[in-house]
């Protein structure tokens, strides 16, 4: 841990606190664009076709924009500037939703938001890496996951209250307002605490540019990266449809309690992530990455099997603890493993975008696949098929993925 201390003192407290709050408020802002969009546009008398179109366009954009977004962050010299502009664009987008909900405006706002989000994911990881360096990045990522999880939970509660008491439009005005503390928190991070080379996963002291001329070609030959992308894709393919399937099952079982139960099913994993992710960050260093990945995949396999057979709605809520375990591990380990396998290339963020695309792809196919299976063959078959995908992910980690934790001489690599 003291390995790169001689070259550089740790980041100032002001910067680390700034990053904490930036992650927290950004999660708040992003929550406003989640489920509230469909509700709001419905109250604005939009038809389901139009709402579906907006959601598809924005989903597709955030899928295709991941790699260019990562490349942009790699290319930029100031992650703070890029992130600040992206937050400002999201604020403008929320304002557009609130003020003028007509189709062309909302379409542009949705595109603006999707593009900005593609930049922000890599930007946070890049700022973290640039701030603390590789040796303690796992702890930092654990801290990020905790603040993001608390932020999303608090925001959902606040926005839900506003939406219930005032209107769905108020949710977007709150989102606009929350963009302001987000930018202020970002401004608290000192620019000279962020080492731009480290933020891009380049080795700070090198003079020659190394392999920075080619980009995707280099990543495509990076076997551990491809294997890891496959793992997260299989994971998301298994994971994304589980909660929606459980939700529709609950609605058919107990209509009175379903909304409260589904809400609890969404909150429980958030609490687990907030509690567990710093621990994951420390263990990733002491145990290594593979044991934690096996825990995450194993928890998903277990959850899928339980969902296939458990009928009691209260037990279903408890099973969601497993969701939180998987989510805590992955929210720390996705950026961490990408750091591991690309460090020194200078294309850390591009690689993040690549893995982000794999995640998004798995998630979007998951919904279609599970929805179809559930309609045709029932929930058990749907859950067991998802579980099979999770088991495949487990096997890939067990049999193919190398341990990516750097050796103790990482500073000299």
């Amino acid at each position: 841990m003291a390995a790169d201390a001689p070259q550089r003192r740790g980041p100032s407290v002001r910067s680390t606190r700034g990053l904490d709050w930036f992650v927290f408020f950004l999660a708040d802002v992003q929550t406003g664009f989640g489920p509230f969009v469909a509700v709001y546009l419905t109250t604005e008398k939009w038809t389901q076709v139009e709402i579906g179109l907006i959601l598809s366009v924005s989903g597709l954009t955030s899928l295709l924009g991941q790699v260019p977004g990562g490349a942009l962050v790699d290319w930029a010299r100031s992650e703070r500037l890029v992130a600040g502009l992206a937050v400002a664009m999201i604020g403008v987008s929320a304002l557009a939703y609130a003020v003028w909900p007509i189709f062309p405006v909302v379409l542009c706002a949705a595109l603006l938001h999707a593009v900005s989000s593609c930049v922000l994911g890599p930007a946070i990881a890049a700022i973290s890496l640039g701030l603390v360096g590789r040796s303690v990045i796992s702890q930092r990522l654990g801290r990020n996951a905790r603040f993001a999880s608390i932020g999303a939970g608090v925001a959902a509660a606040v926005m839900g209250t506003f939406g219930y008491l005032l209107s769905s439009r108020a949710v977007f005005l709150v989102t606009v307002a929350l963009a302001i503390p987000t930018v202020l928190a970002l401004a608290c991070i000192r620019a000279d605490d962020i080492n731009p080379d480290r933020a891009h996963g380049a080795i700070p002291r090198t003079d020659d540019k190394g392999p920075s001329t080619t980009s995707i070609a280099v990543l495509a030959r990076n076997r551990p990266l491809l294997e890891f992308a496959l793992v997260v894709m299989l994971f998301q393919f298994a994971n994304a449809a589980m909660l929606p399937l459980v939700g529709s099952f609950m609605t058919t079982q107990s209509a009175t309690w379903a909304p409260a139960l589904i809400a609890t099913c969404m909150i429980v994993p958030q609490i687990v992530v907030a509690a567990m992710s710093p621990w994951v960050g420390r263990r990733a260093q002491s145990w290594g990455r593979r044991p934690l990945l096996l825990i995450a995949m194993g928890a998903l396999v277990f959850r899928g099997m339980l969902f296939a057979f458990v009928r009691d709605p209260y037990l279903l809520v408890i099973i969601q603890v497993l969701d939180g375990m998987s989510a805590a591990v992955l929210s720390v380990l996705i950026p961490l493993v990408v750091v591991d396998v690309t460090y020194g290339s200078g294309h850390f963020n591009l690689a993040q975008g690549f893995v982000g695309t794999a995640t998004g792809l798995g998630a979007s196919v998951s919904m279609v696949f599970a929805g179809y299976l559930s309609d045709r063959f029932g929930n058990e078959i749907a859950f067991l098929s998802l579980t099979a995908s999770a088991a495949t992910a487990f096997a890939v980690v067990l049999l193919m993925m190398p341990e990516t934790r750097p050796q103790t001489t990482h500073a000299q690599e």
Binding site: F36, T42, K45, T47, Q48, G160, F249, T251, P259, M266
Partner: protein, 183 residues
């Protein structure tokens, strides 16, 4: 595409008086709502038709204009629906009409939390009461409870539409009808 066959929902399929404003518009192909909105906005359109441009052909007859008091009709898309027990049942997202333009069912987005676990369910037009919603901006009232709706299958375009009636029973809207209760 073959128009959706009509089923006999019940003997009380005739519109009540508080819905005459919608049904009387005779533009219901595109949905009752559009007709209502059109009628409400017509007063602004009327001045434009008062001075027709010279090139407009005289063959077309003047369209008949009905002006309805703005407080007597109201759009209902996106409005919340309240169940018989006062519980929130979701929002109206679509309205199903038969070939005669008669509204037969409303699609409500039912249950779930923030979009997770919600389903689109067709409820009988006759089980919905709009009086409070139109006059006082209250919720639309539905003569059914959440528990009566929970087993209803999801509405999907192209599939037979299963409509929940006021008794809470499921009524398929798609069996081949020989008779339609037309006036």
């Amino acid at each position: 595409m073959k128009p959706l066959p009509i089923a006999v929902i019940s003997a009380f399929a005739f519109p009540r008086s508080d819905k005459e404003g919608f049904v009387g518009a005779k533009r219901s192909d595109i949905g009752v709502i559009l007709a209502a909105i059109l009628l409400v906005t017509l007063p602004q359109v009327v001045p434009a038709t008062d001075n027709p441009k010279p090139e407009s052909p005289p063959a077309a007859a003047e369209p008949s204009v009905t002006v309805i008091d703005g407080a007597a009709v109201r759009g209902i898309l996106g409005r919340t629906v309240q169940g018989a027990d006062g519980k929130d049942m979701g929002r109206i997202v679509d309205i199903m009409v038969d070939p005669a333009g008669q509204a037969r069912a409303a699609i409500i987005d039912f249950g779930g939390f923030l979009g997770v676990g919600s389903r689109k369910i067709a409820v009988s037009w006759n089980a919905l009461h709009f009086a409070g919603a139109v006059k006082n901006r209250d919720d639309i009232k539905l003569e059914a409870t959440r528990d009566q709706l929970k087993t209803a299958p999801e509405y999907r375009e192209g599939n037979p539409v299963v409509v929940i009636g006021s008794t809470g029973a499921l009524e398929p809207l798609d069996f081949p009808p020989a008779t339609t209760p037309e006036k």
